[in-house]
């Protein structure tokens, strides 16, 4: 049974711990925020709830990228687009919830439409007054975009940098498009001034706590789903595609469908992350489509350790916490600190933070082997199998057409 494997000790324990921690946070943090009085040492201030809730959404985004990049070798430089689309779908719902409480008091049209002289609601805004519809769109829109985009790209065998760059072009084009007021999504200012969600005031403490809990649960679910995918035979196939796409074809696998599935699932996850993010930060605007944002997601993932499930989560939490802290504590110098962190991580933690942990475990295992060897017993000297996609070997995705820089030890 799946659960049997899931609770087994060893390789997958880390995943289990992560899920337990997230579920616990989903329960405990809201309680400590809402039920514990503000003076108490155990009180979690609302400020923290909002902040960490936001990080959890970023973590889900990073996790979704890891599914395609870490396991399938698709370096998407446009994952922010799926996040933003999910966010916009949620934002549209929240806009419609404002009703006649907008500054112009128009019950049908959001404020920005009124003051740009729109006469009626554009067709693509229909249905967003219903939560179920918006929730559906949160998954459907990014999923569909990924499906169509991926279908074309993977079928044409666009790989490596070429794929990365067209994903970047995609998010850049969307950035420019959403910037335009004529698009009907509020232009540069985006969607903002939200009042309530499902009838609850978005600014109320309890709502914030609930959103935090929802984010933690969504992330836990994301971890679980990702784990299910990568630990199945399909997961091995993902890695095989990353490693030698054309070889999988000669074994009869349709590499393009494999990638398409992972890409779409990942886009849906990113969309959900975006949808949870928007009510917590209170605004969604085209800045989320900025190619720089998508690159940052790649950076979080790399910092935590790609091809591991918990790595990207740790990376996203850490880098964002660092950014929050540095921008307050060292407002003039924080870029040195952050930039230095990225350089240091690459040089000293080549496989990210989780990689460091694994290395340490390997080293310990190795010590055991040598001890055992001295004692005359025989231990299988293969490295311990861990939750990480083995990425010791080259993955040619960014390698140039052919033989591009091959992995070789530096001299």
């Amino acid at each position: 049974m799946i659960s049997g494997k899931f609770f087994a000790a060893g390789s997958d324990r880390r995943i289990f711990v992560a899920i337990v921690l997230l579920v616990a946070a989903a329960i405990v943090v809201p309680v400590l925020n809402v039920a514990v009085p503000a003076g108490s040492a155990f009180h979690v201030p609302p400020y923290m709830v909002a902040l960490v809730g936001k990080y959890l959404c970023y973590a889900l985004l990073a996790l979704s990228l890891d599914l395609v990049w870490g396991y399938c070798g698709i370096l998407s430089l446009g994952h922010g687009a799926f996040f933003a689309l999910g966010g916009y779908a949620m934002g549209m719902y929240l806009m419609r919830q404002i009703g006649s409480r907008g500054v112009y008091g128009n019950p049908d049209l959001p404020d920005f439409m009124v003051f740009l002289n729109w006469k009626e609601l554009p067709w693509f805004w229909y249905g967003f007054d219903q939560f179920w519809f918006a929730a559906l769109m949160v998954m459907l829109v990014p999923g569909l975009l990924a499906l169509v985009f991926g279908w074309f790209a993977f079928r044409s065998r666009v790989t490596g940098v070429y794929l990365s760059i067209i994903t970047q072009a995609m998010t850049y084009a969307l950035l420019l498009a959403f910037f335009r007021n004529d698009m009907g999504f509020g232009g540069n200012n985006g969607l903002t001034d939200f009042k309530d969600i499902l009838g609850f005031n978005v600014q109320a403490n309890a709502t914030r706590s609930a959103l935090f809990a929802a984010s933690a649960i969504a992330l836990a679910l994301g971890v679980f789903v990702t784990w299910l995918i990568v630990s199945s035979k399909f997961g091995k196939l993902l890695i095989a595609v990353r490693n030698a796409e054309s070889r999988t074809r000669f074994l009869g696998w349709r590499a393009e469908n494999v990638k398409l599935f992972a890409f779409t699932v990942s886009a849906v996850m990113a969309g959900i992350a975006g949808a949870l993010y928007v009510p917590q930060v209170g605004i969604i605007n085209p800045g989320e489509f900025d190619p720089g944002n998508s690159i940052e997601v790649v950076v979080w993932t790399a910092v935590g350790g790609r091809g591991t499930i918990v790595g990207p989560i740790i990376g996203a939490l850490l880098v964002n916490a660092g950014k929050s802290w540095f921008t307050g504590a060292l407002p003039e110098l924080w870029l040195f600190a952050l930039g230095g962190l990225f350089v240091a991580v690459t040089l000293f933690l080549p496989k990210g933070i989780v990689g460091l942990w694994d290395q340490w475990r390997d080293a310990r295992a190795q010590r055991q082997v040598s001890v055992a060897a001295e004692a005359g017993t025989d231990i299988d000297p293969t490295p311990p199998k861990i939750g990480r996609a083995q990425s010791g070997a080259p993955t040619g995705e960014w390698a140039k057409p052919s033989g591009g820089p091959e992995p070789q030890p530096a001299e």
Binding site: D362, A365, Q366, V369, S370, P381, P383, S402, G403, E411
Partner: protein
């Protein structure tokens, strides 16, 4: 000329070489044999500087090489034909050959005529990209490329792999020619027993990362040596 003493090599926790010692003399052909996975390639790569030994040493012309990088070893006269060919796929055949110029003085920077005598196909394909060649053609290019370097020691890891029989014979002749005329040392890994028996002045047989037999080529017919080469 080349002196390997007590070499050990680890890949992480796994040990590939266990105290290997070997000598390759100038004007002689030294052949290393052994089953799959016994460590032949690991030994060759340690000699040319692709792997750092865990312990033991490699000396060439009396100088210890252990600290020098692969390019310094190449510049001191060691040429390498690796298993798996490793030609530069996007460089043309001509450029692949010219990549061997790096270790030569400006005046010597030309492709010796015997390279094209030995492998006429290379002359026809000078402008084609190395990666487009057939497997055997690539192997010929890899050998030709090593010869451009005018080496004092030629390290060949299964050079006949994928090459048609007539050219294998030519390669044999060429190796002998290089030994006799240029007096260079040749270190050869080979699975193809007949080829080895014909050429070798001295053979080393490996098993599980160790040298288990040393002797002249004729020893290869002895059963206690043979047993290391059967399944």
């Amino acid at each position: 000329m080349l002196e390997v003493s007590n070499a050990t090599l680890h890949y992480g926790a796994a040990q590939a070489l266990r105290g290997v010692s070997l000598t390759a003399r100038a004007g002689k052909i030294t052949c290393v044999l052994g089953r799959n996975g016994v460590g032949k390639t690991s030994l060759m790569r340690s000699i040319v500087g692709h792997h750092r030994l865990t312990s033991g040493s490699v000396a060439f012309e009396g100088k210890a090489l252990d600290r020098s990088a692969a390019y310094d070893r190449a510049r001191s006269g060691i040429a390498f034909v690796p298993q798996g060919r490793e030609i530069f796929p996007l460089l043309t055949v001509k450029e692949n050959l010219e990549s061997g110029f790096a270790s030569l003085k400006r005046a010597d920077r030309n492709v010796p005529g015997h390279v094209f005598e030995l492998f006429p196909v290379l002359r026809q394909m000078l402008a084609r990209r190395g990666g487009d060649l057939s497997g055997g053609q690539q192997q010929q290019l890899a050998i030709g490329r090593a010869l451009v370097m005018r080496p004092k020691l030629l390290v060949l890891d299964e050079p006949t792999e994928g090459i048609q029989p007539s050219i294998i014979k030519d390669i044999g002749r060429a190796i002998r020619y290089l030994r006799d005329q240029a007096g260079i040392a040749v270190l050869l890994v080979e699975q193809y027993l007949d080829f080895c028996r014909e050429l070798a002045d001295e053979v080393y047989v490996m098993d599980r990362g160790q040298i288990v037999h040393t002797g002249p080529a004729e020893d290869l017919d002895k059963p206690h040596v043979r047993k290391f080469l059967t399944v």
